[in-house]
């Protein structure tokens, strides 16, 4: 004890402590600090993230797209709500002043309620993937709108709250996200459960090649909704994800130590987990 006090110079410097009150002001709490900032400054433009794109107007989300989610065109045309021709006409005629949505409504080919709900479905679905944890920072391009035009803008806080709720919902059903993107195959549980009509439609498309987004597109349903069914089927043991790639022959490398500087395989599940943890910490 005396030794410590006698040599104050030998003590390590105090570790820096982040002032949480000012940190909260600087980085608003949310899934993407950048998105919260754009909402605060009422920005208009396009936010490009690793797994999807969000379109903003006056700080609100007006549209979202993701390679993992079927587009509005698929949701509208798959069930005969709108003919593919009518959709193409509106897309081709859309310009800066008259968005495709306005043209569709004016032509009377679709009811406002139908378009609004399909659009919200597509928006929240794509945004769920666009806001997924990413390994690269997002980029924002100011200024450009979307050719669809306004339907029903969604506040950023609502979108983030719903995206978080969806993550919790999926994890509550079956806390393993391996089935979300891997090719899916049928499995034979000893006691097959009773399946709903929606689940049977999903099950009929399992062939060991199709992934969840493929199945969603084939059925004309949002991918998140398909994931709800897929996680339930996985929990019931009716479905199992197949490994992404057949494992390469491990013999030559098994005993050899990894060369210095070589990084672990990027599809190591721990890396994905660590990225999610990092994103969650950054959002604090």
């Amino acid at each position: 004890m005396t030794a410590l006090h006698a040599t104050p110079a030998g003590l390590p410097p105090r570790l820096p402590v982040r002032d949480r009150s000012t940190a909260a002001e600087r980085v608003p709490r949310g899934l993407s600090p950048m998105l919260s900032r754009l909402a605060a400054e009422r920005a208009t433009g396009v936010l490009l993230r690793e797994r999807g794109t969000l379109y903003l107007a006056d700080g609100q989300i007006v549209h979202a797209e993701s390679p993992a989610a079927p587009g509005l065109d698929v949701l509208l045309t798959a069930h005969g709500t709108l003919s593919a021709d009518a959709w193409m006409d509106a897309v081709n005629q859309a310009d800066e002043r008259h968005g495709a949505a306005r043209l569709l409504l004016d032509s009377g080919r679709i009811a406002p309620g139908t378009l609004e709900l399909c659009h919200l479905g597509a928006l929240y679905d794509a945004a769920y993937f666009a806001l997924a944890p990413s390994s690269t920072p997002g980029r924002f391009r100011y200024g450009t709108g979307h050719w669809l035009g306004p339907v029903r803008p969604v506040p950023v806080t609502s979108l983030e709250r719903e995206t978080l709720r969806r993550r919790v919902l999926l994890d509550r059903i079956w806390p393993d996200h391996a089935a979300d993107s891997a090719p899916l195959a049928r499995a034979d549980p000893p006691r097959p459960p009773t399946l709903t009509g929606r689940q049977q439609a999903v099950l009929a498309l399992l062939d060991g090649v199709r992934t969840a987004p493929d199945i969603a597109r084939a059925l004309g349903r949002p991918t998140f909704h398909t994931l709800v069914d897929i996680r339930r089927l996985a929990a019931a043991g009716v479905l199992s994800p197949r490994p992404q790639e057949p494992a390469p022959p491990p013999l030559p490398t098994r005993s050899a130590p990894r060369p210095p500087g070589e990084r672990p395989a990027p599809n190591d599940p721990d890396v994905a987990l660590l990225k999610r943890v990092r994103d969650a910490l950054e959002a604090l």
Binding site: T81, L117, T196, F224
Partner: protein, 124 residues
């Protein structure tokens, strides 16, 4: 021809005793639109929770092998009625209308009838 907002507004203003209404997607549990409610009654939370009610009933019917479709579900509390009316959306997702009524001020049979009419106007 009505959008979600006008339909929900109509439900809230024209149905006697209505204190809150929501249009809910029951696969995701998301409220696609809400109107009414209060600080102590969060309609988004009610929407997500009642999704489980609808799902449980549907599963039970499948276990029993019942082929009929659910038209509506009534939950009566000591001072409120909660009415759930199922509708099928064109986007391939099941939806339901969720209506909260003050038990003292409402006419249940009338409310059911009006909710059915609002569903027809909604064109989802």
């Amino acid at each position: 021809m009505a959008n979600t907002e006008t339909s929900l507004k109509e439900a809230l203003t024209s149905i006697e005793g209505a204190t809150g209404v929501a249009l809910v997607d029951y696969t995701s549990g998301m409220a696609l639109g809400t109107m009414g409610g209060s600080k102590t009654f969060d309609l988004s939370v009610a929407a997500a929770g009642n999704t489980d009610v609808v799902r449980a009933k549907m599963r039970t019917m499948e276990h029993l092998g019942l082929k009929g479709e659910i038209e509506d579900i009534l939950i009566s509390l000591s001072d409120q009625y909660h009415l759930i009316r199922l509708l099928s959306g064109r986007g391939g997702n099941g939806l339901f209308l969720y209506l909260v009524l003050d038990a003292k001020r409402s006419n249940l049979a009338m409310a059911r009838h009006q909710l059915k009419k609002i569903e027809q106007d909604l064109e989802v």
